[in-house]
Each structure stands twice: as structure tokens, then as C-alpha cells.
């Protein structure tokens, strides 16, 4: 297991370096300049433009800019935002808890509904339930997040009034300084009556929107995996031995069926981060996704480079964890067979 871990860790280094290079190059290929983009119709004099570009290091050769950037990263310096002048890491850490909270609950939503739905669909293969579920999952998978989010706001928030439109908490009724950055936890810590309920209420729609695509994916994957496992000999044997359906399905079949599903969950983290960008914008959720979108428009190179690198690192770590979990679930991998 240790060898397995070390081997996987060694692979992350070239992945990380490649990411550094790709983000650095990709951002600079977008036309526009961080200084010029601020100035609007009035423009800027050539002297001031040169001065500001020099201060930001943009007048250096590209290879030197990359070398400085890489050197900074090795020292844990992700750079300074050209817009707010704050450290990129500081901004990221301020905003990341909001994204993490949203992504976590979106994934919980997807798992709690997607996996049982997939199991039921496999058990009732070919039934109306199975076909309906697969149809819904295809729809969920295909729907653009932006459209789905706005539709839910119109129906659920506006027409029905069941949830608030956007934001993380009722701003009129509740005010407390963030402690952890996780609104649910901070609401509990604030001791203000109704704060937790308001925070959860605000989380519901964005969680559903962001969790829809993972839910659809998990439902289909679970169904497909369960069908494969249910046709195995050992399952037939377990039934023949007189084990209850609950033990056969819940303890034997599901555990084996979950192996590819766990991998999918790990891969979903990447798409959750991508989905968070749109979800956060629609629901005014102050996370890293919204921050990155704004940084693109502002050509905030350090924020973009640092932000993308940090998110990618998290995705790498999560997938590494999933691989380890994989080894735990599947003894064959754990024992190196």
C-alpha cells in the first residue's frame, strides 16, 4: 500500500509542473492586457502604461516571467492580485470554504439520491421506474447548469417562494463575522436563532443545481455497475445459500458495484469545480469559481494562475485519495494482485 501511495505521489509531480506551464501559457494567449483592460475609453499614456507594465513584471521576457512565477511557487508564493493587490493565496483561502461547502453538499446530494436510485433501477431493470430514471438522468446530465439554475430560481424561489433567490444567508436578519468560512458552521457558532435554517435554506437550490450532473452520472454508473455485479456467480450463490436480499444486495453486491462508482466520484470533483463557476455566478455564491470568472475579465494573471493551480491541486489530491480508497474497497489492489 505504501509503495502504491509513493508511486502515485511521484506521478503528481510531473502533473503539477505540466499544469503550471499550461495555465501560464493559456492565460497569456487570451488577448488583452491587465493594465489596458482597466482604462476603458480614456486609455492610458504610453509612459504610464510602460511604468505599470514594468511594475507588474509584464515587460520581462516570457521565459523570465515563467521562471519568476515558478520560483515564487516553490516558496509558496502564489503571487499578488493585480486588481485588489492582495495575496492570491489569501484571497483563495477566504473564498474556498464557500466553494467547498457548496461542492460538498452537492456531492452529498448526488450520492444520497444517485446511488440508491441507480441500485433501484438495476433491481427493477426494464421497468417504468428504470426507464424513467434513465430518462431523467440523461436530461439532468445534458442540461446546461446556467439555464437549470435560472429556471429553478424562477419556479422555486419566485413563483413558489420556497427558497431564497441567492446569497448565503438572509442579510437583513442575520449579521455575524465569518469564523470558519463555512456558513452552516458559522451560523451555528453565531448562536442567532434561525441563522442555521436560513443558511441551509440558501444552500438548497445551488446544491441541487450543482449536484444534478453528478447525480445523473452516479445513478447511471451505479445502475450499470450493479447490473454487472448482480449477474455474477457469487451473487447467485449467495441467494442460493439463503441470504436475505438485503444482505446480498446491500453487503455483497453493492460493495463490489461501488468500486467504479468511487472512481467516478473522484472524477466528479473536477467537474464540480467547473460547475461551481457557473453556479456561484447565478446564485451570487462568493466562492473561487466566481472569483476566477471575474479574474478572466480583469486579466488578473496572478489570480488566474494561482487559482487554477490551487484548484487543480485539490482535484489531484482528491483523486489520489480516491485511488487509496479504491485499494481499501478492493482487496486485490491492496494486496498488489
Amino acid at each position: 500500500m505504501l509503495r502504491f501511495l509513493l508511486k502515485r505521489l511521484a506521478l503528481t509531480i510531473p502533473t503539477f509542473v505540466a499544469l503550471m506551464f499550461v495555465t501560464f501559457v493559456a492565460i497569456r494567449m487570451v488577448p488583452g492586457d491587465p493594465v489596458e483592460v482597466r482604462t476603458g475609453e480614456r486609455g492610458i499614456s504610453p509612459e504610464r502604461l510602460a511604468q505599470f507594465r514594468h511594475e507588474l513584471g509584464l515587460d520581462q521576457p516570457v521565459w523570465k516571467q515563467f521562471a519568476d512565477y515558478a520560483w515564487g511557487l516553490l516558496h509558496g508564493d502564489f503571487g499578488t492580485s493585480v486588481v485588489t493587490n492582495e495575496r492570491v493565496l489569501t484571497e483563495f483561502l477566504q473564498l474556498f470554504p464557500a466553494t467547498l461547502e457548496l461542492a460538498f453538499f452537492a456531492m452529498v446530494f448526488a450520492i444520497l439520491i444517485g446511488i440508491p436510485a441507480g441500485v433501484m433501477a438495476a433491481l427493477k431493470r426494464g421497468s417504468v421506474f428504470d426507464q424513467t430514471l434513465m430518462g431523467l438522468s440523461l436530461t439532468g446530465f445534458s442540461m446546461p447548469i446556467f439555464w437549470w439554475g435560472l429556471l429553478l430560481i424562477m419556479l422555486v424561489s419566485e413563483r413558489l417562494g420556497w427558497t431564497p433567490v441567492s446569497g448565503r444567508i438572509d442579510l437583513i436578519k442575520f449579521y455575524f463575522e465569518p469564523v470558519t468560512g463555512f456558513m452552516l458552521i458559522d451560523a451555528l457558532l453565531s448562536d442567532q436563532a434561525g441563522a442555521f435554517k436560513s443558511a441551509f435554506h440558501h444552500l438548497m437550490l445551488p446544491m441541487i443545481v450543482l449536484g444534478t450532473v453528478p447525480l445523473a452520472t452516479l445513478a447511471r454508473m451505479t445502475r450499470s455497475s450493479m447490473l454487472e455485479v448482480l449477474s455474477e456467480d457469487y451473487v447467485r450463490t449467495a441467494y442460493a445459500k439463503g441470504l436475505s436480499p438485503f444482505r446480498v444486495i446491500g453487503l455483497h453486491a453493492l460493495r463490489n458495484a461501488l468500486i467504479p462508482v468511487v472512481t467516478i466520484i473522484g472524477l466528479q470533483v473536477g467537474s464540480l469545480m467547473a460547475g461551481a463557476v457557473l453556479t456561484e455566478t447565478i446564485f451570487s455564491w462568493p466562492g473561487v469559481g466566481k472569483w476566477l470568472i471575474e479574474s478572466i475579465g480583469r486579466r488578473d494573471y496572478p489570480a488566474l494562475q494561482g487559482g487554477i493551480l490551487l484548484i487543480s491541486s485539490i482535484v489531484i489530491v482528491v483523486n489520489l485519495t480516491v485511488d487509496m480508497l479504491y485499494g481499501f474497497i478492493n482487496p486485490r489492489i491492496r494486496h498488489g494482485q
Binding site: 480614456r42 486609455g43 492610458i44 504610464r48 473564498l95 433567490v165 441567492s166 437583513i172 451570487s284 462568493p286
Partner: protein, 531 residues
């Protein structure tokens, strides 16, 4: 009265007061469209950042609510020397600074604060000059670097500003956000504690609202300043809920999660106006969208060709199909809401036949190939430059002109336009200070140099001499006469086709009262109440 009774009465009053405040605390939530870069207007260029800082600050002078008229603020009076070079400001006494966590002011606003606020922007060796990036774009762009010769403190409440040349718009410049007055004492305290960057993140001002907190990308909170020197706020708490998506802002407004929403989408306006719970107000924006002709490139060096282009375009169709009623067709370079607007100037008629005849007279043979540049982004004065360009292209084709549509990334577009690269180019302008000079300088000879903001590169001596003279005069009547003449000259010589002035809409809940729309576009919540 016995001690016991006094204590009891005091406790009862206190309890009643607490209860009363809890019940009657008025909170206005403003759904803003974006996050501020920081809270020091001198460092910013975007309306979003200016709006975020505005509740906290005052300037020496300010624009009267809902207008561009300059009125006293932190300076309660001023006198200008006969040569126009010296302005002596008498500062208001008893103006209190806000307190924030870790800072409690020990004195009132005085001349030291004015000196600090301007010297930070003008002196490269100022201790705060480089803090938070140190880019003072508006100070430079409004010409203050050259104009402000010196700023001297005569006493604690008298400041003498000496200019390098007489300049009529200077007072209007001093009412702009970049000229906000900051606390020198706060700055010094932060420098001593090694945290100068906090100055631009946790603002201390003299304004009607004091800053409470900013949760990044989420919410900004302000509290009414009970010690404000001017008209006290009618609300207790002001909250900016940062909501980038305009559809979400509209939904929040309908759900009463916010009471005022920034920048409504034109497509939503009709529905908003029908909604009984909402109120929509509007006024002509202090802006202009134009199509400029590069007079240094043939055949646009010929006035007849430029006039022909004016007559070839169906402006009414553009207003109907692109502006969707959110704009008025522009006749002059300045909007009708700006003083000195010349109502006698007539627009060119839409007359393709006459346009063709003029081209022929000018010796232009069809087909004439030109390039027509359009902005890649939406601007306050132009909702869809590409669509306008396409409509113009179709109109021009009817008179034998082939227009090739060209665009670049926004910063690149503007840079190339200012270099004089295009033959014809769309652009526009939003007024900064309510002074006509702030528009007309865009067609002055000084701005016609390569890289200058006069993208038509038009330099007309009659126009330019009046522009220079008007900037030095202080009598509005004399300035008005010159600006009126300039508008007539511009129309006749046609360096541009003036397209439109956009109409700016604001939407709020019906319960919101007292809001006055600023012609300059910013949002101010003093005088606003919720019924």
C-alpha cells in the same frame, strides 16, 4: 426623585430604546453588480468600486444630489483669485471621522487630511504613494498632475490650491470620487502599526455611512453615521448584496431580498414597469455613442464624404432595434441634460439619395471600400456595437460603400483606435464631472496626436480655440456661448456621426422613496427612505 426611581426609569428608557431600535431599524439592501477592488476611490476606475466606497466619503465640494451642480461639502466656501490660478478653500469645522476596529479618531477633519488625500496621488515619494498598487488613474487622466501646481495649508481650516493655468472645470473635478478626503491620522496610525494596506480595505471617512464590514464577493455593510455633518441618512443600515447576474438581481428585487437593483437588463424593463411592487425611473445618461471618421485618411478628409455618411445611416432604426427604447438619437456631441446644449443645431436627415449625390460631388466613385470598427464589449452608451455596425453596413451598401467590419479585444481596440489605425470606428464617452469640457476635449487638437483620445484625429482651429478659451473662463454664460458655437461647428464639419445617448434606468421596490438619479451614473443612498 429617589435614586432607585431614577435607576428604574433609566433602565426602562434603555430597554424601550433597545426595543424601539430593534423594531424600527431600517435596512436597505442594494443588489450591486460586482465586487470592489478596494475602498479608496483614488485607486479605482470602475463604477462598481466607486459605488462601494461612496457612502463613506466626502469631497471638498460635491455634486448636488440628482444633478451636476457643484455645491459646498467639506469646504464650506472658496474664493478664486482674479487670474484664476489660486483657489482658497475654507474647510468646514466640526466634521467627525468614523471609527473602525482598532482606530478611534482623536481630532476632527482638517487641512492635514486634505493635504494627505492629494499628496498621496501627486507625490511619488509619499509614504502611501505605492500602497495597494499606487495607480491613480483619474488623478492623471483629469490632468491634475499638470494642473495642480501646489497645495498649501494656511491654517487648520484653510487650504490654498494653486493651478498651473486657469481651469474652469477644476471644481467639478474636485467633486469626483477620486478627490475623496481621507484621514491622515488613520493613515499614520496604520503606518506605525505596519499595516498600511488596511487603509484601502477598511475605509475611514466623514460620510453619511460608516463602514462596518466587507465579506469578499458577498456583502458590504454600512451603518448610518449619527454624527454626520450634513443631511442625516433616513435608513439605519445599508447593505450591498453583491449579485453579478442581472436576472438574479431582478428575482431578488421581486422577492424583496433587495430593495434596489443595479443595472436592469433592457429586456426586463417592460415587465418591471408593469410590476406593481416595483418602481422604474430613468433619465438620459451623460454619455454619447458615436461613429468617428478618421479625417487623416482619404476620402474622410473631405467634409462632404463625412456628411454623406451621416445621411446614409437610418438612425431611427438603430434606436428602435438596438437601443429598444433605452436611448435617444444624438444630435450634438453632448447630451441634452448637460448645460450649454445647443437646441438650434439640426441633425442630418436620413437621405441615402442625397448621401450618394454628395459622394459623387466629392469625387468618390462607387464602390468605396472602408473599414468599420465596432467594440467587442457592451458599453453604457452602446448596448450592441456589433449589431449597430451590421445595420450601418447594410445602409452603406445601398449607397455603394462596402464596409468591412473589424474588431479587436477591448483594450487592443481602444489602443489602435487612439493610434489612428481605423478609417471609421465606433466608440463613445461617459461624462465624468458634468462639465462640457469633459466631452469636447475629445475633439480638441491636443487629443488628436497619435495615442490621443481624439480618435477622429480632427483638428479644427475654430473649434479648438473656443475649447481652450472656454476652459479658462469662469462665467457660465460666456462658456455656454462658446460651447454652443462649438456644437454648430462640429455638426457642420462632421468628424463623427453622433449615434445616441443611452437612457439610464434604475429599478427599486415601490417602498423606496427619495432616491435621486445622478446624471453621472453613480448610486447614492443619502435621502433615501423605506416606507
Amino acid at each position: 426623585m429617589s435614586h432607585f426611581r431614577k435607576t428604574g426609569l433609566a433602565a426602562l428608557s434603555f430597554a424601550l430604546l433597545l426595543g424601539a431600535s430593534a423594531v424600527s431599524a431600517k435596512t436597505l439592501v442594494y443588489c450591486s453588480e460586482g465586487s470592489p477592488e478596494n475602498f479608496t476611490p483614488a485607486l479605482n476606475t470602475t463604477g462598481t468600486s466607486f459605488d462601494a466606497a461612496r457612502p463613506v466619503y466626502n469631497q471638498l465640494v460635491e455634486f448636488e444630489r440628482g444633478s451636476t451642480k457643484v455645491v459646498p461639502a467639506l469646504a464650506e466656501s472658496w474664493t478664486t483669485s482674479p487670474d484664476g490660478l489660486e483657489i482658497t478653500f475654507k474647510l468646514r469645522k466640526g466634521v467627525k471621522w468614523h471609527s473602525v476596529t482598532g482606530f478611534k479618531p482623536t481630532r476632527d477633519m482638517n487641512a492635514d487630511d486634505v493635504l494627505f488625500s492629494f499628496e498621496r496621488q501627486s507625490k511619488a515619494d509619499h509614504p502611501y504613494a505605492k500602497i495597494s498598487g499606487g495607480k491613480y488613474d483619474y488623478f492623471a487622466d483629469m490632468g491634475m498632475t499638470k494642473l495642480l501646481k501646489s497645495l498649501v495649508k494656511k491654517d487648520d481650516y484653510t487650504i490654498v490650491m494653486t493651478l498651473s493655468e486657469p481651469n474652469a472645470p477644476i471644481l467639478a473635478n474636485l467633486a469626483m470620487d477620486f478627490a475623496s478626503i481621507h484621514s491622515a491620522e488613520y493613515a499614520e496610525a496604520l503606518l506605525k502599526s505596519g499595516k498600511p494596506e488596511q487603509f484601502d480595505q477598511v475605509p475611514v471617512g466623514t460620510g453619511p455611512f460608516s463602514f462596518i464590514t466587507y465579506q469578499k464577493d458577498a456583502v458590504i455593510r454600512f451603518k448610518a453615521n449619527k454624527e454626520f455633518w450634513g443631511e442625516k441618512a433616513l435608513i439605519d443600515d445599508l447593505v450591498y448584496a453583491i449579485t453579478p447576474d442581472p436576472t438574479a438581481r431582478y428575482s431578488k428585487l421581486k422577492a424583496n431580498e433587495c430593495q434596489f437593483a443595479a443595472y436592469p437588463r433592457p429586456a426586463d424593463l417592460a415587465e418591471m414597469q408593469k410590476d406593481p411592487s416595483l418602481k422604474v425611473i430613468s433619465q438620459s445618461g451623460l454619455n454619447i455613442a458615436y461613429w468617428a471618421f478618421n479625417v487623416t485618411k482619404k476620402p474622410f478628409d473631405d467634409k462632404r464624404v463625412r456628411q454623406a455618411m451621416n445621411m446614409a445611416i437610418d438612425k431611427a432604426a438603430i434606436m428602435r432595434d438596438v437601443y429598444l427604447g433605452a436611448g435617444t438619437a444624438a444630435i450634438n456631441f453632448i447630451p441634452p441634460t448637460l448645460w450649454s446644449y445647443n437646441t438650434t443645431v439640426k441633425d442630418y436627415p436620413y437621405d441615402p439619395a442625397k448621401a450618394q449625390a454628395l459622394l459623387k460631388e466629392a469625387g468618390v466613385t462607387a464602390p468605396l471600400d472602408i473599414d468599420l470598427w465596432y467594440m467587442p464589449v457592451q458599453r453604457p452608451y452602446n448596448p450592441n456595437a456589433k449589431r449597430i455596425a451590421e445595420m450601418m453596413q447594410a445602409d452603406l451598401a445601398k449607397i455603394g460603400v462596402n464596409a468591412k467590419l473589424v474588431t479587436y479585444e477591448w483594450g487592443e481596440y481602444r489602443k489602435r483606435a487612439q493610434q489612428g489605425e481605423p478609417t471609421t470606428v465606433q466608440l463613445g464617452w461617459t461624462g465624468d464631472n458634468g462639465d462640457p469640457d469633459n466631452f469636447f476635449f475629445l475633439r480638441g487638437c491636443a487629443a488628436a496626436r497619435p495615442g490621443g483620445q481624439n480618435i477622429s484625429k480632427w483638428c479644427n482651429e475654430e473649434f479648438d480655440s473656443r475649447l481652450k478659451k472656454a476652459a479658462t473662463l469662469t462665467d457660465p454664460k460666456e462658456r455656454t456661448k462658446l460651447y454652443e458655437e462649438m456644437q454648430a461647428i462640429m455638426k457642420e464639419d462632421a468628424p463623427d456621426m453622433t449615434i445616441a445617448h443611452s437612457i439610464v434606468f434604475e429599478v427599486m421596490r415601490k417602498e423606496v422613496e427619495g432616491y435621486k438619479q445622478s446624471p453621472l451614473g453613480g448610486h447614492k443612498f443619502i435621502g433615501v427612505d423605506i416606507k
